[in-house]
């Protein structure tokens, strides 16, 4: 908890005869994060390993599978198969089924490509012929003359030609199409006149017969090709359904085989031996050691290497209780913690939904989002999707709880008064009844309190982080600077408290008398001392950090969004209800008329659209603002991140099983 899993650096050495077995076992256990061999100094005399036997064959088969998968348009959705295929069964069908499936896919794709090419060809031919359709001359008559020149092309308007000629003009909206036949001697003169009139020559298609007939023939061919393509599409879809589970399983099996066969490329080998280095969670160390020894009959050397935490990039794996697991997505989105750094996931998993709930705080919206978090599971598969939806689920539960506290249901007041603060704005009937507005000021102060505590927690975590990860004088300086930031923030607060009495906050303004030369009460003087200490402590680590001092205030005030974003969402809900129900629906219901029924329906539509938009805004606003408070205001205090992801050698099997 609060820190990543402890890792051990492991060295595995053995004879090459054992390599295959060791790789298979490591792959099956999916715990060993391989450290690639890159010709380190201490490995003089070693070289990179060669792939195991069978790698090429497996790669070739995998290529075929992927080709068929592409042809059939099969997409892995990341969800485990309802029935997993056993490996032995799968190997047998790879021998018998794969060549056939591959041939089918190949044939269909070739046909489809041919038809699509033909379609494109026909399309361009039709486009070329179309202008000629307006000229009643067979296409054969456009060529094969010894004494005649032919011009065909587009022209803005009909033109009078002085040289001897015969012409056909057909006008259209965007200029006309002109065909001119002229004796060869007059060709130049005609051409000049045509060009002057803005003539643009068109290619004369190499066809025979009347253009309209040719077009009709091509269109018929196009239609039949279209039909054939549809048939191929249906066939592919049918085959896709038939073979999807087989292909996905085969892909998984062969990918696993290829990965295992290519693992030696990451090992250091000599003629007879191999050495693999990597990382493993310390908790699993003894277990892996035992199983490797069992597999090889003790003919293996497994050694735990000393770890140099400052130079080795230790891969980082989260170590969180189950309920905090979804928040790992939010932390990863920022950056994975470094090894040895505090892992904020647990705090995020508690505070994120809390902030979300404080902002959204509506039973109705919370219920809709809760339903969404379950309903979307069919479409958002895979680990990240599940994590996202789990986060949404937790957040909407928080929103429902705060909705009960605020007494809000789609902006309408529930049958009880708000338990702590009212966020109901006096709009419409409520305003006429003289309802008093929301407790904005009180909620603002509570928001600020949350900010002060959250930021203080961040600074305390930073002290812990520096104490654990830094060394020597740098460590002392960094810790001092953090206490400086804390003293600065609380010093400002104490000075303010000593001057003004603020509700819900400490009142130090009555304590003692104003000390004349300074103009501050005793508490204020303590505050000033804290501020000065803070500045010195921050400055001794890095003078430039003093420029950041104003962020202390802006970061604390930034938590005001907990109130502000929530209230704006309530305002939209209330206004929607007021417009739809009070202004449109209710007056009509009082005296129902045919037009009134339509208006009632319009009112209900307005109500629906308003609330859907507000829900979308609320989801984005609450989610992003809650996330932002974590990223910008909280994480910046202590979190560096940039750790290397723990990526164990092996695969999570979704479609195949060993038995």
């Amino acid at each position: 908890m609060l820190e990543p899993r402890t890792m051990s650096r492991l060295l595995i050495a053995g004879t090459k005869a054992e390599m295959g077995g060791v790789i298979a076992e490591l792959y099956r256990r999916r715990l060993f994060h391989i450290e690639d061999f890159i010709g380190q100094e201490e490995y003089a005399g070693f070289r990179l390993g060669m792939p195991l036997a069978g790698a090429t064959e497996a790669s070739n088969e995998l290529l075929k599978i992927r080709a068929a998968t592409n042809a059939f348009g099969i997409h892995a959705d990341g969800a485990p198969a309802p029935r997993r295929l056993s490996v032995t069964e799968l190997r047998r069908s790879l021998q018998t089924e794969l060549p056939e499936v591959d041939a089918q896919a190949d044939e269909l794709v070739t046909r489809r490509t041919r038809l699509e090419t033909r379609q494109k060809d026909l399309e361009s031919r039709i486009a070329e012929l179309e202008p000629f359709a307006s000229v009643p001359i067979p296409m054969d008559l456009y060529r094969g003359y010894d004494s005649l020149a032919v011009f065909a092309g587009h022209i803005p308007a009909d033109v009078a030609i002085t040289a001897p000629h015969e012409k056909q003009y057909s006008g259209g909206k965007k200029g006309g199409f002109l065909v001119v036949f002229t004796p060869i001697p007059d060709r130049d003169a005609v051409e000049r006149q045509l060009l002057d009139a803005g003539f643009a020559a068109a290619r004369i298609p190499d066809e025979t017969g009347m253009p309209a007939d040719v077009i009709a023939r091509y269109q018929a061919e196009q239609a039949s090709a279209e039909k054939e393509l549809e048939g191929i599409g249906r066939q592919l879809a049918g085959l896709s359904e038939l073979h999807a589970s087989f292909l996905l399983a085969a892909d998984e099996l062969l990918s696993a085989e290829v990965e295992q066969a290519e693992a030696p490329l990451r090992f250091a080998v000599t003629d007879q031996t191999f050495v693999a280095e990597g990382w493993i969670p310390t908790a699993d160390l003894a277990d892996i050691r035992a199983s490797l020894e069992r597999i090889t009959g003790g003919k293996i050397h497994v050694e735990e290497l000393p770890v140099d935490f400052d130079h080795d990039a230790v891969p980082v794996e989260y170590n969180n209780p189950r309920f905090a697991h979804p928040s790992e997505l939010l932390v990863d989105l920022m950056s994975r913690p470094r090894y040895g750094e505090l892992d904020p996931t647990l705090l995020v998993s508690i505070v994120f939904p809390l902030f979300f709930g404080i902002i959204l705080g509506d039973v109705g919206y919370g219920l809709v989002l809760l339903a969404l978090s379950f309903g979307l599971r069919r479409y958002l598969m895979g680990e990240a999707g599940n994590q996202l939806l789990d986060t949404l689920r937790n957040s909407s539960v928080a929103a429902i709880i705060f909705g009960l506290i605020y007494s809000e249901f789609f902006g309408v007041e529930l049958p009880w008064k708000p338990l702590i603060f009212s966020r109901h704005l006096g709009i419409g009937a409520a305003a006429e009844a003289g309802a008093h507005g929301p407790d904005a000021a009180a909620m603002l102060i509570v928001s600020i309190w949350i900010g002060i505590l959250h930021i203080t927690l961040g600074r305390v975590l930073s002290i812990v982080n520096h104490a654990r990860m830094d060394h020597g004088s740098h460590r002392t300086k960094a810790i001092l600077a953090q206490t400086g930031w804390l003293a600065f923030m609380w010093g400002i607060l104490i000075v303010i408290w000593s001057m003004y009495a603020i509700p819900l906050m400490l009142d130090l303004s009555k304590l003692g008398d104003v000390v004349a030369p300074i103009g501050l009460r005793p508490a204020g003087i303590i505050g000033i001392v804290m501020i000065l200490y803070g500045m010195v402590a921050i400055g001794q680590e890095n003078t430039l950090d003093l420029f950041e001092l104003p962020t202390v205030i802006s970061h604390v005030l930034s938590y005001a969004r907990l109130l502000a974003v929530g209230l704006s969402s309530v305002a939209i809900a209330l206004v929607t209800n007021y417009i739809a129900l009070d202004l449109i629906v209710r007056p009509q219901l009082a005296a129902l008329s045919p037009v009134g029924v339509v208006l009632v329906i319009v009112g209900i539509l307005v109500l629906l659209i308003g609330h859907v938009v507000n829900l979308a805004l609320g989801l984005l606003g609450s989610g992003l603002n809650s996330l932002r408070l974590h990223y910008v205001e909280f994480f910046t205090k202590f979190y560096k991140g940039g750790g290397r992801k723990y990526n164990p050698f092996g695969m999570k099997r979704l479609y195949t099983s060993e038995e």
Binding site: L333, M334, A440, A441, R561, L563, L567, R628, Y631
Partner: protein, 86 residues
């Protein structure tokens, strides 16, 4: 014509104009702060999109940078709410 110099301001009129000016102030606070935030996020957002397009891992950091100016509009919103309701 109304003679402005002799016009009498009743207490109700003063109250009404006070409420009206409060509403105008609240609107200005949110609106102007929104424009400021928009201007700030304009450049950051474009650059963040570019960075994310080149490297998807940048998404978290890009989002962080993009929402930094958002604080300004939140301040505007808070001021507006305080004007209207306290």
């Amino acid at each position: 014509m109304v003679d402005v110099s002799s016009a009498v301001l009743t207490a109700e009129m003063i109250q009404a104009s006070q409420a009206g000016l409060k509403a105008v102030g609240a609107g200005l606070a949110v609106g102007l702060a929104g424009i400021g935030t928009g201007l700030g996020e304009m450049g950051i957002g474009a650059a963040a999109m570019g960075a994310t397009a080149e490297n998807r891992d940048m998404f978290g950091l890009a989002l962080l940078f993009t929402v930094i100016p958002e604080t300004i509009v939140i301040f505007g919103l808070v001021v507006a709410l305080l004007l209207l309701f306290s």
